[in-house]
């Protein structure tokens, strides 16, 4: 079974109670990554084995093996909720998407109306948690201690947010739009999870959609059934799940989840000197450039002198990946990788590179990407108190024999 020793006592219990109310305990993450190694692997409804971060509300991380391809399957897509309870049952005969607030004609749309009255558009886009890789921050910071798997890429189909707003008739003086879902805290004192975007942000971008389809299927409940907001290029905090209410407002919306939560330092890098506090903050927004080497998996034993094919994915905040490079000499020299099919500027971009490991010993391969405006990744990790925006150059070690 290979469970880690500190899990062995619990392993015996787990074997006896392998199926517990919708969860199959399937073992523990075996990754060489110390952040996720030893965490429970769990199987939630409509999901395959994912790494458990928290049970209630559920936060589930995608094992890195799923990022050897551009599209993340729905069953492997990560899960992150903020408040509890979360919706576990949605009846489409009664579900309605409301568009209201500072508008002339408030809407209440059934799923059938949403599909019939508004043009369907498709966008392939990366959904990444603001705090992805937070567990690697040094000095460490409070918050969900994610490894690198709080991300995924899917083809989303739905209607344009701006078409909905046009139909509702946005009034003069409107400045922002708020988004609320069916997840409602049990106690009135807990701030409901509501997010906002500026009106300009959503009117200028026809790729901001209300998606009711994910990779050709309805969204899994835990990824936002029956509809979620898609904000390509921006962090997942704005991609409100189980969407129910879109409200146009005539003043900035500054409730807890917009302020003070989900803020980054108001500096060009969104970072500050490690261990210090920012003087001013702004809401988190566009994603930084990242790239990962995912195949062969880290720690794999490779034959020295025999060519191997390295593969992985790269993405950015919506300009598109221009180039991916690898280095096996600690970053002294870099070599260009081949890019896979272009699924649009918001998508994971697959890359591959033939590489011949040295004769023996450990080998380390680094990977970095550049987007189309020249942004890249740093050799030193950036730092901020909330553990956001991580995009340091990643490296993978192999055993060569």
């Amino acid at each position: 079974m290979g469970f880690l020793s500190r899990r062995q006592a619990l392993g015996a219990l787990g074997g006896a109670a392998a199926v517990v109310a919708g969860r199959t305990l399937t073992g523990w993450a075996q990754a060489s990554d110390p952040i996720v190694a030893g965490r429970p692997l769990v199987r939630y409804p409509q999901k395959t084995d994912l790494i458990l971060l928290t049970s209630r509300p559920p936060q589930l991380e995608t094992p890195m093996k799923w990022f050897d391809r551009a599209i993340t399957p729905n069953e492997a897509f990560f899960v992150r909720y903020h408040v509890f309870p979360i919706p576990t049952r949605v009846d489409l005969t009664t579900w309605r998407l409301r568009v209201g607030g500072h508008v002339d004609r408030p809407l209440e749309l059934s799923m059938d109306e949403l599909k019939a009255k508004f043009a369907a558009v498709s966008v392939t886009a990366v959904n990444q948690c603001s705090g992805n890789s937070r567990g690697r921050f040094a000095p460490r910071v409070l918050g969900g201690q994610w490894g690198d798997g709080a991300m995924g890429n899917a083809e989303w189909v739905g209607c344009r947010l701006r078409d909905l707003l046009t139909a509702a008739g946005v009034r003069q003086g409107a400045v922002e739009v708020t988004f609320d879902g069916l997840d409602k805290p049990a106690f009135g004192s807990v701030p409901d999870f509501v997010k906002s975007l500026s009106l300009g942000r959503v009117l200028d971008d026809g790729n901001v959609i209300v998606a009711y389809q994910m990779n050709g299927a309805p969204l899994p409940m835990l990824n936002g059934f029956p509809a979620r907001l898609i904000v390509p290029g921006w962090y997942a905090t704005y991609w409100v799940k189980n969407l129910s209410d879109i409200i146009v407002v005539d003043r900035p919306f500054e409730q807890f989840w917009m302020k003070p939560a989900y803020r980054i330092p108001d500096t060009p890098c969104g970072c500050v000197e490690p261990g210090t506090a920012p003087k001013a903050t702004v809401p988190i927004n566009r994603m930084t450039v990242r790239s990962f080497l995912t195949s062969p998996e880290p720690g794999t034993r490779l034959a020295g002198g025999r060519q191997a094919m390295l593969k992985g994915i790269a993405f950015d905040g919506g300009y598109g990946i221009r180039e991916v490079e690898i280095s096996d000499d600690g970053g002294t020299t870099w070599r260009r990788a081949a890019l896979g099919r272009d699924l649009g500027p918001y998508s994971f971009r697959e890359w591959s590179a033939a590489w011949t490991p040295p004769r023996s010993g450990a080998a380390k391969v680094m990977v970095r990407a550049f987007n189309r405006i020249g942004e890249s990744q740093g050799t030193e990790p950036l730092w901020n108190p909330a553990g956001y925006l991580r995009n340091v150059i990643e490296s993978v070690e192999y055993q060569v024999s």
Binding site: V20, G22, R23, P40, F84, I86, T88, T93, S189, P226
Partner: protein, 101 residues
């Protein structure tokens, strides 16, 4: 054959249900997230688990009394956790003792 017919009927019923409503059942809190035993563990488990599973705590970086005082204060002030002053102090002290540096 009877089994096949029954299977088809079941499938039709499921599809009819799936057309209008989607439903899942969530598991209970995972035992890995249970707080360590020790003085104050009961009040901590009870107070924290009111709103969230305690794996939220177990995974955090170890911290001194200042860190855990800050966390407990945030839970009360921002999220309205219903703790008496005495319980808040007991929980923060327990956390610093069991999840300290």
């Amino acid at each position: 054959m009877a089994t096949l017919v029954r299977t088809i009927i079941c499938a039709v019923v499921l599809l009819a249900g799936a057309a209008s409503a989607e439903e899942i059942t969530l598991p209970s809190d995972h035992p890995d997230g249970t707080l360590k035993p020790g003085p104050g563990s009961e009040v901590a488990q009870r107070s924290c688990a009111l709103c969230h599973s305690t794996d939220y705590i177990v995974m955090q970086p170890p911290g001194d009394q200042k860190q855990w005082d800050g966390v407990v204060t945030k839970m009360i002030k921002v999220f309205g956790a219903p703790l008496s002053d005495a319980d808040a102090k007991a929980v923060a002290e327990y956390l610093a003792r069991q999840y300290g540096r």
